[in-house]
């Protein structure tokens, strides 16, 4: 069973973003799938309530590890035999709400699943990534799109659960945490996570592949997905909406 997951909490995005993502998936996936949304306001049968067990460790003033709620996906219904939502052979494709899907998502479900997949931001200069590693900056990973098979990400959940105070204190972002514990920028093929290949996913605000294809705010329809996150721009929501309408 193929599952496409998204997550919505807070007020930055309204329900129309979830509906728009669902629409995009239905228009761009040639294999059967179920669409689910982890949400703090569950009302539909494809909504899954976001747990709150980690909330007490989040310091809103510091804002570290702010996307921690994504970790709940790596635990919910992931135990073999727990088939309430997901059968044991399930695959999961998580997508952030602020993406544009250009091509058939079947591609992702056909990828080998020996290891989970995550966005390797190929627009990052790997020298900067390594140089800033100990400064908790310039992470090479981006959790806007993650692909895994059932149970595969449970070690990540277990690690977060066991070290929650330390992780919430130390890592500015989930992506940075991933880069420090589940990926190795010096041996990119050896990490627990593997990066989607070049040419799959690019960033609207940052470009595509360093240093040769770094033009920003350029649509690349030969790629599968365009990401909008991590921008420092305040107009990103309006910009995304205008692009959805093209």
């Amino acid at each position: 069973m193929n599952n496409i997951l998204c997550m919505k909490w807070g007020d930055k995005y309204d329900d129309s973003y979830v509906e728009k993502l669902k629409e995009q998936c239905e228009a761009n996936c040639s294999v059967p799938f179920k669409f689910w949304c982890f949400t703090d306001k569950p009302v539909k049968d494809w909504h899954i309530p976001i747990p709150t067990t980690l909330d007490e460790f989040y310091d809103e003033g510091r804002g570290f590890f702010w996307a921690y709620r994504k970790c709940y996906m790596f635990n919910h219904g992931q135990t073999p035999g727990d088939n309430r939502h997901f059968p044991d052979n399930s695959k999961f494709l998580f997508l952030d709400l602020d993406v544009i899907i250009h091509q058939d998502l079947k591609y992702f479900f056909d990828l080998p699943n020996d290891k989970p997949w995550i966005v390797r931001g190929w627009w990052n200069d790997i020298h900067m990534v390594k140089q800033n590693y100990a400064k908790y900056k310039s992470t090479p990973l981006n959790s806007s799109t993650i692909l895994w098979k059932k149970g595969q990400m449970v070690p990540v959940w277990d690690h977060v659960k066991s070290n929650k105070e330390l992780i919430f204190f130390t890592y500015p972002s989930l992506d940075n945490y991933f880069a420090h514990h589940w990926y190795d920028p010096w041996k990119e093929d050896e990490g627990f996570l593997q990066g989607f290949p070049q040419g799959d996913i690019y960033s609207w605000y940052k470009g595509n592949i360093f240093p040769d294809d770094m033009e920003k705010k350029k649509i690349r329809e030969d790629h599968k997905i365009c990401l909008f996150n991590n921008s420092a721009e305040t107009s990103d929501v309006e910009e995304l909406k205008s692009l959805w309408n093209i």
Partner: protein, 220 residues
């Protein structure tokens, strides 16, 4: 101790390390690690250890970066010193740190290990170089980068099963202008509290040339 002994051997090692660093994207990082404040902080450690008549034998350095100041300062000032191990998370540090400290690495007196010391235990002891029956315990833990990491009580708790009541030499800073300074303190008392130091042998503050205040605590 108010200076570092710039011996011909050290000069040769440093020339090679800086030459190596200058060929990479790491040059700025290497130069940052060698500024006036860095040396002031490390000399302060040596001065206070001497005053306290502490004679470290086996030292674990946490997040020691290239360790080009602290390691030679320790060896030059303490005949007692047998071994120093630097635990770092930055894999690029290893090659250059070994170049800076080549003479000590070659003598098997200095090792750098890639490890996140807040998540994974350090080695609490080393094999005796001449007698396989003996293990030598770490007696001194030096962390000059407390502002970069979670409070040190966590390290102590994590390593309780492998450490036998070592002396801690801890430094932190009030300089919160850098995003990687995730745990600045405003006083030596705060550092003592964070690390759960019960027996305070020394605590103090020093205003450094970079206009920040550095705090140091020595104790168990």
């Amino acid at each position: 101790m108010e200076y570092l002994k710039f011996t011909p051997e050290l000069a040769n090692n440093w020339k090679n390390a800086l030459s190596m660093g200058s060929k990479t994207h790491l040059l700025k990082r290497v130069l940052d690690s060698m500024n006036q404040s860095q040396l002031e902080s490390k000399l302060w450690i040596i001065q206070e250890l001497i005053k306290l008549e502490i004679e470290p034998k086996r030292v674990a350095i946490l997040a020691g970066w290239y360790a080009q100041y602290i390691v030679p300062l320790l060896y030059d000032n303490f005949e007692s010193l047998q071994f120093a191990e630097n635990f770092e998370i930055d894999q690029d540090v290893k090659r250059i740190s070994y170049a800076f400290n080549k003479r000590l690495k070659d003598d098997k007196k200095y090792v750098i290990t890639i490890k996140n010391v807040m998540f994974d235990r350090i080695h609490g002891s080393w094999q005796h170089p001449h007698n396989q029956l003996y293990k030598l315990d770490v007696d001194t833990i030096i962390n000059c980068a407390c502002e970069h990491m979670y409070p040190m009580w966590k390290f102590r708790e994590l390593n309780k099963p492998v450490l036998r009541n070592p002396i801690y030499v801890l430094q932190s800073s009030d300089d919160d202008q850098y995003s990687d300074h995730i745990n600045c303190v405003n006083s030596e008392e705060e550092l003592i509290d964070q690390a759960g130091i019960k027996d305070v042998m020394y605590s103090g503050a020093k205003f450094l040339s970079n206009k920040s205040t550095r705090f140091m605590v020595i104790g168990r």
